[in-house]
Structures are given as C-alpha cells and as structure tokens.
C-alpha cells in the first residue's frame, strides 16, 4: 500500500514548484529570458500610450505582446543580423524584443510611416533623374 499524497499547502507548493522549475522546462524557457524581459519592459511603456478608453485588459495586452515577441524575435534577429553586420544574432534579441513590445499596438502607424518613407525616397530619386 503506497501512502496517499500529502495535501498540506507546503507540500502542494513544493510539488507545483518542482514541476514548474524542472530542468526540462528551464531548458526550453532559459534561451527566451532576454526576450521575455525585454518585451515586458517595452510593453509596459507601450501601455502608457494606449488611450484608457481603448485599453481593455492590461494583462491581455502584456500577454499578447510578450507572445508576439517570443514568436518573432528569434526569426527577426536571424534574418537581420547579416544585414546589420552583427556577427551573433543573440545580440539582437534584446533590442528587437524591446522594439516589438515598445511599439505595442502602433504597428499600423509604423507601417504607414515606412510606406511614406519608401514613397518619399522614390519621389526623390525620380526628381533627381528628371531634373538632372
């Protein structure tokens, strides 16, 4: 006969904690430490820019941005490190995650600015060619 598991709060906390902080979980989560912390900081800043009426649930806002940063940062760093001349893509994790979190819900505005920038550049090139 095996003993029934102890249900006192301390034992339950130890069991839960041992599961959460296990080596298997740590091996998966640890590489994302910088990304999670940087996107958390960025999201905290971005939250201040959102109008209180449009804000909704702050916890959902943080979860959305940290999730997005976790999914995108590694790929974005791998793609951009050669263009930026940075040897180790890991060095770009923190700034990219901070940027993703910091821009927050303003990505459409950034897209508009980028399209405008391309338009102005094309216009400038056309003027130079046309004007001589």
């Amino acid at each position: 006969m095996s003993q029934p598991p102890s249900l006192d709060p301390t034992s339950v906390l130890v069991v839960l904690s041992a599961g959460f902080f296990s080596r298997e979980v740590a091996s998966v989560v640890a590489p994302y430490a910088v990304i999670i912390l940087a996107s958390l900081t960025g999201a905290a800043w971005a939250l201040g820019r959102v109008e209180p009426a449009k804000r909704g649930n702050s916890f959902a806002f943080f979860a959305r941005l940290i999730g997005t940063a976790t999914l995108i940062t590694v790929s974005a760093a791998s793609i951009s490190h050669s263009y930026l001349g940075v040897e180790d893509p890991q060095l770009l994790f923190a700034p990219i995650a901070l940027l993703i979190g910091g821009i927050g819900d303003d990505w459409p505005k950034v897209g508009g600015w980028f399209v405008g920038l391309i338009g102005r550049t094309i216009e400038l090139i056309a003027t130079k060619k046309g004007g001589g």
């Binding site: 902080f21 740590a26 430490a33 912390l37 958390l40 201040g48 702050s58 916890f59």
Partner: protein, 111 residues
C-alpha cells in the same frame, strides 16, 4: 532540494503579486496624464520582479531568505498604497489639468 523548490515557489508567488500590482498601476497610468518618473518606477519594479521570480528558470538561480524577504517587502510597500490607486492614478501623481486645478490643499485629501 524540497527547500529550494519551496523558496522558489514562494518567491514566484510574491513576484506574481508584485507584477500584478504593477500591471494594474501601469494600466491606470496614461503617458499623457501621469508623471514620467512614476511610470518609470512601476516599469522597473515590474521587470525586476519578473526577473527575480523566473530566475530559477532563466539562470538556475534559486532564492534564499534574503531574496524572499526583499520581495515580500516590495509587495507590502505596493499593497499599502492600494487605497490611493483604487479609483485610478492618484491626483498627486497626475499632470493633467484636473490635477492642476485642484491645487495643493485639495491634494492632501488623496494622500
């Protein structure tokens, strides 16, 4: 080993309390109406608490009595201010016109 996990669990629970409080306070603070230094304070505490609570996962670093008491103190210091933040950002941390119009004697009520 059980003690390590117990301490890590307690520290994480305290950190979650700190994180939750900071998220609520930042949620009640708009960049337009709340002082920059107040927002910096909660952003820094939020990131520090997250790093401390998840340190066993991130860096295999387990908390001891010192770290737990520091986290408990931090949580307590936030909890004692809870009444002030019940109806949004307190008037004395705001920069908008409503806060300016009320003036100093009125501010004392909110402290």
């Amino acid at each position: 080993m059980d003690k390590l996990y117990l301490f890590a669990g307690i520290n994480l629970l305290l950190a979650l309390g700190v994180i939750g409080t900071c998220v609520c306070r930042l949620g009640a603070s708009s960049a337009k109406t709340v002082r920059f230094t107040v927002r910096v304070k909660y952003v820094v505490i939020l990131t520090g608490a997250a790093a401390s609570g998840l340190a066993p996962l991130f860096w295999s670093e387990y908390p001891g009595y010192g770290q737990i008491s520091l986290m408990a103190t931090l949580l307590l210091s936030l909890v004692v201010e809870m009444r002030r933040w019940r109806h949004g950002a307190p008037i004395d941390v705001r920069t908008d016109s409503e806060a300016q119009e009320l003036g100093l004697p009125e501010l004392e009520k909110y402290r």
